[in-house]
């Protein structure tokens, strides 16, 4: 038993220095200020406010050139002016029209591909080979080719958008369908579901978290691709169809070229606003009405 350490028996002792137990704040009224700072939105809003004030102060005090970093107030004024007097609203509409067109067509093609992939083993192999190959390819890299094939116009942008939507959506939907549990499949068959109703009533709801994930990734890629495409070739795309066209990316780019830096920031704000709107309002609403309500995903 040489491996065992020797047992040490400690001497017993009494601690004399313990004071009497005093009751601390177990529950107390929070002060007004504490209550206010416990509200999530108040804290976040004040961070935003502090950032804005810091920006304004920095530009006023350090005397940084207006061309490098304009004052926040100038930017806000520029945003207001471009929205009201300039054609920023039309540009937002142009961008969104192209985006929605590309996204919708992309979804249709992705649906067809996924359907083929579920029905046959060969289709499934074809889809996984294609997605493995084309998903890592940034859609914007196809824009030069698209311009060659479809000419300068929104057709080329829609083509690149298609490419950025189809692969993530098809990949995620396919993975989602493949991982629907056998129990659920058998329940569906037990109800006598076949063909299209089987897909619509059983497979799609069961795979919805994954499908939604694909839709979100597809949106993120499409949005980035669209802005990049407009930045690169916005002028070329705009020139073909009159002066009042070109999208948000073009708004940013052309203002940068004319050194209208407050307007550049205004364009960036608009891009952020549209992005936040789609992500936090549209997708969050879809989520809370479907996967969260069905208990498939915790908030």
């Amino acid at each position: 038993m040489s491996n065992m350490p020797e047992t040490v028996v400690r001497a017993e002792f009494e601690a004399d220095s313990l004071g009497s137990a005093g009751t601390a704040d177990v529950a107390r009224k929070l002060s007004f200020f504490e209550k206010l700072s416990d509200m999530d939105s108040v804290r976040k809003f004040s961070i935003l406010l502090v950032l804005m004030v810091a920006w304004e102060m920095y530009t006023r005090i350090s005397g940084v050139s207006e061309l490098l970093l304009p004052k926040f107030s100038d930017t806000a004024v520029a945003l207001f002016n471009s929205l009201v007097y300039d054609d920023l609203l039309i540009m937002i509409k142009n961008s969104l029209t192209i985006l929605v067109t590309g996204y919708a067509i992309g979804l249709v093609i992705a649906t067809l591909l996924t359907t083929a992939a579920i029905m046959t083993r060969f289709g499934s192999d074809a889809l996984s080979t294609l997605t493995a190959m084309l998903n890592p390819l940034p859609a914007i890299a196809l824009l030069p080719l698209a311009l060659l094939w479809f000419g300068l116009g929104s057709a080329s942008v829609v083509f690149t958008l298609l490419h950025s939507v189809i692969w993530p959506v098809a990949l995620n939907a396919h993975t989602g369908f493949m991982s629907v549990s056998d129990t659920q499949r058998m329940v569906g068959r037990n109800y006598g579901l076949r063909g299209v109703p089987y897909v619509v009533k059983l497979l799609i709801p069961a795979a919805f978290p994954s499908i939604l994930m694909g839709l979100k990734v597809g949106w993120a890629y499409a949005w980035r691709t669209l802005i990049a495409a407009e930045l690169v070739f916005g002028g070329a795309i705009a020139d073909t169809s009159g002066a009042q066209s070109g999208g948000l990316g073009w708004f940013v780019f052309s203002n940068q070229m004319e050194l209208q830096i407050p307007a550049v920031f205004a364009g960036l704000f608009t891009v952020i606003l549209v992005g936040v709107f789609v992500e936090s309002i549209i997708f969050t609403n879809i989520e809370s009405r479907t996967v969260r309500r069905w208990g498939m995903q915790s908030s």
């Binding site: 060969f122 080979t129 294609l130 190959m133 030069p144 060659l148 094939w149 993120a220 930045l231 992005g275």
Partner: protein
């Protein structure tokens, strides 16, 4: 007996004997597969066939239909062009340029994200700041920052790196922060029980426990960074000295050397597949899959 009204009448079907059933006979329960079936059952073979089929269709279409090579060159032209530029041309230099910028930007983005998330886990203000900043900047395509970056940092690698940092930072910070928040209390208490505090607590408990989420963030960050880099080089590649893969594509498309454009696209696909299926796959196999946190 009012409840009886709701019940339907019982129908008793007459008994019958089905005369038409033949003898039960056993079909193929198990049989030797033929050689072709065996080969067709190998996953790799089927996928290679798909690839080969695509290439053959491409080649046949362009050769038989007499498509203008300027619009759509045959596959062989593109492959030859890739071979030539890769071994006798300046393509390796351009690839190296792109990858160098990408690695700098990615590393810087990760470092900033790490600092930010540390602040976010240690104070409520930091957490709010991360939530606020990611909600605002994550939907902003980083390429939109490029015009500003060029104004601030001039035409050069610095602006590219700034944009890449922006692409990586928010995706990684968002996913890591969410991952940290979702680490279970049991694991946290175990860490505290071991006397871990501060950085030790983060490195030994939070990071391993949140690694699946961190990996997701790193993969999303890579995807955005890769797309941003190619986009940025397409737009302003020449001005940033040397130029990378995106510039190679742009140059070729300006010279209407479409075979060169396809060669560039092949290269981008190859690098993308290497990073996603070799690099990240291996990291996952050695960490989250080995630790049993995620099924392969």
């Amino acid at each position: 007996m009012s409840t009886d009204k709701h019940l339907p009448d019982l129908v008793i079907r007459p008994e019958f004997v089905n005369e038409n059933i033949g003898d039960a006979h056993t079909g193929d329960v198990a049989r030797e597969l033929s050689l072709i079936e065996k080969i067709w059952n190998i996953n790799g073979v089927r996928k290679a066939t798909v690839l080969l089929g695509l290439i053959v269709v491409w080649q046949a279409y362009t050769v038989l239909m007499d498509v203008q090579p300027l619009m759509f060159p045959p596959f062989t032209d593109a492959a030859l062009r890739l071979w030539e530029d890769l071994f006798h041309g300046d393509l390796p230099g351009k690839i190296w340029f792109s990858i160098k910028v990408l690695v700098y930007g990615y590393a810087a983005g990760m470092a900033i994200a790490a600092v930010m998330v540390l602040w976010g886990t240690s104070s409520r203000l930091g957490g709010d700041f991360i939530a606020m900043a990611t909600a605002m900047f994550n939907p902003l395509p980083s390429i939109a920052m490029l015009p500003l970056a060029m104004l601030w940092f001039g035409l050069g690698t610095a602006s590219l790196i700034f944009v890449l940092v922006h692409a990586v930072l928010w995706a990684v910070a968002l996913n890591t922060h969410t991952g940290f928040k979702n680490v279970s209390h049991t694991l946290r208490m175990i860490g505290e029980n071991y006397g871990l505090k501060g950085v030790g607590f983060v490195v030994r408990i939070l990071v391993p426990a949140a690694l699946p989420s961190i990996m997701t963030g790193m993969k999303v960050g890579w995807a955005f960074a890769w797309r941003t880099l190619i986009g940025a080089e397409l737009v302003f590649g020449a001005s940033s000295g040397g130029g990378g893969l995106g510039w190679y594509i742009f140059e070729n498309s300006q010279n209407i050397e479409t075979a060169g454009v396809f060669a560039g696209l092949f290269m981008i696909i190859l690098i993308g597949i290497t990073v996603e299926n070799v690099l990240f796959r291996n990291i996952e196999l050695k960490t989250v899959n080995r630790w049993g946190m995620q099924r392969s």
